[in-house]
């Protein structure tokens, strides 16, 4: 009897995880095929932005939640991806190669920065400061690139205004044959699903387990013979690539501008993760979509007369403080807590009954 129960644990957990994965897949496919059927273009474009941001959320969820690297400047890779794509696409015309570059260049830059930080043994706050500073450097620099002297080939960087004429992706090999907003939407949601399950698979491998080990205790992982620096560098580069991909999709649904590099963008990602739940993948995605819907809604509410005090910053800030103080595990942690509490309630009654019977039996 007892042995059976012990065995049931992991099997049950595995089944739960499978059910969770299937639910995510179903939700993703429903959005992918369901939404374009009835939604207007405005909603489609908005949802594309959500999907792009969700990939951005995943990029930090992976490196912060699983490898313990708190990067305050994830926006640097996001903006770099967008700008790389815009500049390369304007110069080349055909957009397949620029799209690849938008993923590769941020990854390479993350590699450079990561080499600098991880081989310097910089950690914690200091890492936060350096990443924050780097994204600020980009922001300040790109902000002042108005004027002819800052053209890269045919592409004007445009300073504060960004590049409003960011080209839209075309079908591979057919320059000028642009994707419709519905296609960009499908591409974004498809990529979001691919990235999400890619992360899941990665974390299930030996590499993923070593990452978690490093997060839990860096010294111990190092003493066990793993080159911590190399693992951190690899995951940091992957995070950079994902953020670049997100920037590419964002550039295709809005356009690139220096705000992509700004502090509020980096901060937003952190809020999504804290609200959704650090150390999970689905939490940050949920947090991202919830927060985006909330910010959009607050934006419209604060326009209404008498509701001018509803400032998105005010609400987001108070929410963040409340979550850090009272719900440190985020919404997913909260949900798991409520679930096990309910299960405890349901189990208690029969358990008490059997306990009393055992007492009376002999």
């Amino acid at each position: 009897m007892k042995a059976g129960r012990v065995k049931a644990g992991p099997v049950k957990a595995g089944r739960m995880a499978l059910a969770g994965n299937l639910a995510v897949l179903a939700a993703g496919l429903a959005a992918l095929f369901g939404l374009p059927a009835f939604a207007e273009t405005y909603l489609i474009i908005n949802s594309t932005i959500f999907a792009a941001f969700a990939i951005l959320a995943l990029s930090l969820a992976l490196i912060w939640g699983y490898a313990g690297i708190l990067c305050f400047g994830q926006a640097a890779f996001f903006g770099l991806g967008g700008y790389t794509y815009a500049v390369a696409a304007i110069n080349m015309g055909e957009t397949t190669l620029p799209a690849l570059m938008a993923v590769l260049l941020p990854a390479l830059f993350a590699g450079l920065l990561g080499y600098f930080m991880f081989w310097g043994r910089i950690s914690d706050v200091y890492l936060g400061v350096i990443t924050l500073t780097v994204s600020l450097i980009f922001y300040r620099f790109v902000n002042q690139t108005a004027g002819e002297q800052w053209n890269i080939g045919d592409a004007p960087l445009g300073g504060f205004n960004g590049i409003p004429s960011t080209p839209i992706l075309n079908w591979p090999g057919r320059a000028g044959d642009q994707l419709a907003p519905e296609d960009i939407f499908a591409l974004s949601v498809g990529l979001l699903l691919a990235v999400y399950f890619g992360c899941k698979l990665l974390l299930a491998t030996r590499f993923g387990r070593i990452l978690v080990a490093i997060r839990e205790n860096e010294t111990r992982a190092e003493l066990l013979g793993y080159d911590v620096r190399l693992y951190k560098l690899a995951i940091f580069m992957l995070g950079g690539a994902m953020a670049g991909l997100s920037g590419l999709l964002f550039a295709n649904s809005v356009f690139v501008s220096p705000t992509m590099f700004s502090l509020p963008v980096s901060g937003q990602i952190i809020i999504w993760i804290i609200i959704g739940g650090l150390g999970t993948l689905i939490g940050p995605v949920i947090g991202c979509i919830l927060m985006q819907v909330l910010t959009n809604w607050l934006g419209t509410v604060s326009q209404i007369k008498g509701f001018g005090w509803v400032d998105p910053n005010l609400v987001l800030g108070v929410l963040l403080v409340i979550f850090v103080l009272l719900v440190p595990r985020g919404l997913t942690g909260l949900a798991a807590g409520v679930w096990s509490w309910l299960k405890g309630l349901a189990n208690r009654a029969p358990a008490e009954r059997s306990a009393t019977r055992e007492q009376t039996d002999p």
Binding site: M117, V125, I137, L314, L320
Partner: protein, 288 residues
């Protein structure tokens, strides 16, 4: 010759504003190992307090030197009670919570004062050196920065509060065993750090004006100065501010003001790579 003098004055002024910007953060981080990401907004609040008081007829100097630090100091005491107190020893969580606080403050101030620039003109007029002119107020700020550093050193070195503060900083458990109350020391420290930020915000308001989002311009520089300075609160801040301020001004003179800022940031990144514990983590270790 005149050019050299003006260059030195510019460097001094840049260093002084870095010192003013970061001294409140340095006190809080150095003593409590708490990173206050709302620090920029504390400065912003100081600016608004000074300008509001001035617009209501308070003498400008009184508004900057008394009203601003008092208002922000009180605000800091409340924040310490409500938020910071619950997060001691959890560095990352404090950063996140204070970052939420900073957003909330930006939102609140936007709602109250509107998203517009307000300002007061700098007092004291200007000063001519040869063919160049410079604001006398900037020179006054250099004096204030030096005064603050010296006063801070005297307090830490020679007063009873300074002794308790240093003891708590080095070993809170031992200080508690000897009869002090670390939680009270932390509360006072946070309020003092906030008041210093308020003072700096008030004093810098005539130079930069105030907008609800001005904190972002302060926080990065303050953050960088304090972290590059390292463990010693006063000398670390002073040395880092001197180094970074000089680099900033020289690059501004040689290129443009934006490249000056970029040079400052790049210098800080390189500095942290070479000295991950900050300047006073390697040199002048026993300084205050």
């Amino acid at each position: 010759m005149d050019y050299l003098v003006i260059l030195l004055l510019q460097i001094g002024s840049a260093v002084a504003s870095l010192v003013l910007m970061s001294i409140g953060l340095a006190v809080i981080f150095g003593m409590m190992r708490v990173i206050n990401l709302a620090h920029g907004e504390f400065l912003m609040l100081g600016g608004y307090a000074a300008i509001t008081a001035f617009n209501h007829g308070v003498n400008l100097w009184l508004a900057m030197v008394v009203v601003a630090p008092l208002a922000v100091g009180l605000f800091g005491a409340v924040v310490e009670r409500l938020v910071i107190r619950h997060l001691y020893g959890r560095l990352i969580d404090t950063m996140l919570a204070t970052w939420g606080l900073s957003l909330a403050m930006i939102g609140f101030v936007t709602v109250v004062f509107g998203n517009t620039v307000s300002g007061i003109s700098a007092p004291l007029g200007s000063l001519s050196i040869g063919a160049y002119r410079t604001g006398a107020y900037e020179i006054f700020l250099i004096g204030v920065a030096v005064l603050l550093l010296v006063a801070g050193w005297l307090v830490l070195r020679f007063t009873r509060y300074g002794l308790i503060a240093r003891g708590t900083m080095q070993n809170p458990a031992m200080a508690a065993a000897l009869g002090t109350n670390p939680s009270a020391v932390y509360a006072v420290t946070f309020a003092v750090g906030s008041a210093l930020s308020g003072l700096a915000g008030g004093l810098l308001a005539p130079l930069s004006g105030v907008v609800p989002t001005i904190g972002a311009a302060y926080i990065a520089k303050a953050f960088i100065t304090v972290i590059s300075g390292g463990a010693a609160i006063l000398s670390g801040t002073a040395i880092a501010a001197t180094l970074l301020g000089a680099i900033n001004t020289l690059a501004t003179f040689a290129f443009t003001s934006v490249l000056g800022e970029v040079a400052l940031l790049v210098a800080a990144v390189v500095l942290l790579r070479l000295l991950p514990q900050g300047i006073t983590g390697r040199f002048f270790r026993r300084a205050l």
